[in-house]
């Protein structure tokens, strides 16, 4: 199994060796991506140097790229899992939270205007498992349910499955149409009648796609607002991470410090996420 990894690593090294200063290669989650792209642009302008940001394969793709040495920093919207450490035993994953994000359940305009504003967890499970096939059953419009499932391996899906089923390995085996990036999820929900999908709340614009509230067991409804996320009331929130292999190198350190600093926090907020409280570390990172 290691042979192709080695070949890829050699190729990647051959391609990226540059005479002056090696580019900082970043890969992963499309949720974290816009923040890092903005930060990279400002860093580039301030100190020069090259920063490449890609979103191949979402969070798991980024972590795989870091594990194989094809990237220096992984962007992830899910924590490092035990399975990641098993897969890359030689890699010392260090995750730093740079902010947090709410995962919203977004619906298309016709469902929203048909009167559906919130879901309970059992209702969501029934939609996901295909036991509810028409929005009428939930007091919405008379329209078939189209569930665009976020691809497995995407941080968004992992967080959804964790909340809905306790663990992503417990999630039932379903075959739903799949969407990848946040852009794709949003445009497909917006252009399909009766559509629902899991999407980063920062992308739920309230014009094309609409974020449903979550109805808790006590009957109260929490909407994925920054306030509710900050107060810890909204159940589907998650930290956003930058992950490095061991101590971050100079360029990676610079990027992480920038994002945790005042200007970085502004960028995080501008994209609809919650900035990290200063010097947040994750449990996995504790020695």
């Amino acid at each position: 199994m290691r042979r192709p990894a080695l070949v890829l690593a050699i190729l990647a090294a051959a391609v990226t060796v540059s005479p002056v200063r090696a580019a900082l290669r970043i890969n992963g989650s499309t949720t974290v991506n816009p923040v890092v792209v903005d930060a990279a642009a400002e860093l580039r302008a301030a100190r020069g140097g090259e920063i490449q940001v890609d979103t191949l394969g979402g969070s798991s793709g980024g972590i795989a790229a870091l594990g194989d040495g094809r990237a220096d920093v992984a962007m992830s919207s899910r924590p490092i899992l035990e399975s990641d450490r098993e897969r890359y035993p030689g890699v010392d994953f260090r995750a730093t939270a740079i902010g947090s994000d709410a995962l919203a359940l977004v619906v298309s305009r016709d469902v929203w205007e048909g009167g559906l504003r919130s879901l309970t967890r059992p209702q969501l499970l029934a939609l996901y498992e295909g036991r509810i096939r028409n929005w009428r059953e939930l007091g919405g419009p008379d329209r078939r349910v189209v569930f665009f499932n976020k691809e497995p391996g995407r941080g968004t899906w992992e967080v959804f499955a964790h909340w809905a089923y306790g663990d992503s390995s417990e999630a039932p085996l379903v075959s739903l149409p799949e969407v990848g990036s946040n852009e794709e999820a949003r445009s497909k929900v917006a252009s399909t009648r009766g559509a629902i999908s899991q999407l980063s709340a920062a992308w739920a614009d309230g014009e094309r796609v609409f974020a449903l509230g979550i109805e808790l067991a006590d009957g109260s409804v929490v909407r994925p607002t920054p306030q509710a996320v900050a107060a810890g009331e909204y159940p589907l929130s998650r930290p956003l991470f930058l992950v490095t292999d061991g101590e971050a190198g100079r360029d990676a350190r610079e990027l992480i410090d920038f994002l945790l600093g005042a200007r970085g926090r502004e960028i995080v907020e501008r994209h609809g996420y919650l900035p990290a409280s200063p010097a947040v570390t994750t449990p996995e990172e504790a020695p």
Binding site: P4, R144, P152
Partner: protein, 291 residues
Amino acid sequence: MTRWLTWTLSLLTGVVVLGSALLLLLESLPAWRHSGLGFLTGTRWFFRASEFGAAPMVYGTLVVAVLALGLAAPLAFGAALFTAEVLRGRARLAVKGTIELLAGIPSVVYGLLGVLLLRDWIYRLLSPFDPLSGDTLLTGGVLLAVMILPTVTTLADDSLAGVPAGQRRAARGLGLTRAEVAATVVVPQAAPGLVAALLLGLGRALGETIAVFLVVGRRDNQWPEWLLSPKPIAEAGQTLTTKLGGSEVWIAWGDPLHWGAIVGLALLLLSLVVGLTVTGLRLAPPGGRDA
């Protein structure tokens, strides 16, 4: 020296092709051992339950490719007859050049055009049948038809134009009209080349990833109730290429069985494309392709 170089380079190409196939075979061994022939015939693919059946993806691939070919062939042959039989000299080269230019457009551009224009159009077109969304096998097929149209057209034109002019003059001399000449003299002689054009177009359709990825819906385990049922065409599906282009590949990485299954899909795809391309090239008339 030249001969030695040519031989070495040809050999190298052969080694690369055979080596890739061998590598894919070796890497996919765990999946073959796990599922046996069920890997080909199984209709359920749930990697978290270690179930790997590739049949729905082979089905999706073939449906999309056959739809593409069915839609592209009449248009492409019509256009090729026009360029080869009606246009002369510079006019023919200008039209042919423009068509070949279309073949050079990156597929992601076609994919985005498909998202912008085709998905909604198919969604409205199918609305009497209450489709779930505009992401269907049909959408993928129509998009691929547009993409392979230039390839099929220009190859068909080559093989039509390759029919010797003397044959046409002789037929005209016998009093046949131009349409009769085309139908009874040119097309029958060019037939192997036309079939080759179709097969090479089919090869491209089978291998295309990113454009189909954006419009096909990527829904696993879509297996028709009966084999020729038209229903799945109006529903989301999955092809071999869209599965390989998705994020599941990153999950599979490192798990020998799951990775083997993914590589097995790649091997199936390679066999399909190589088989069709080789057949296509064997049928092509010698020298016809660079006419």
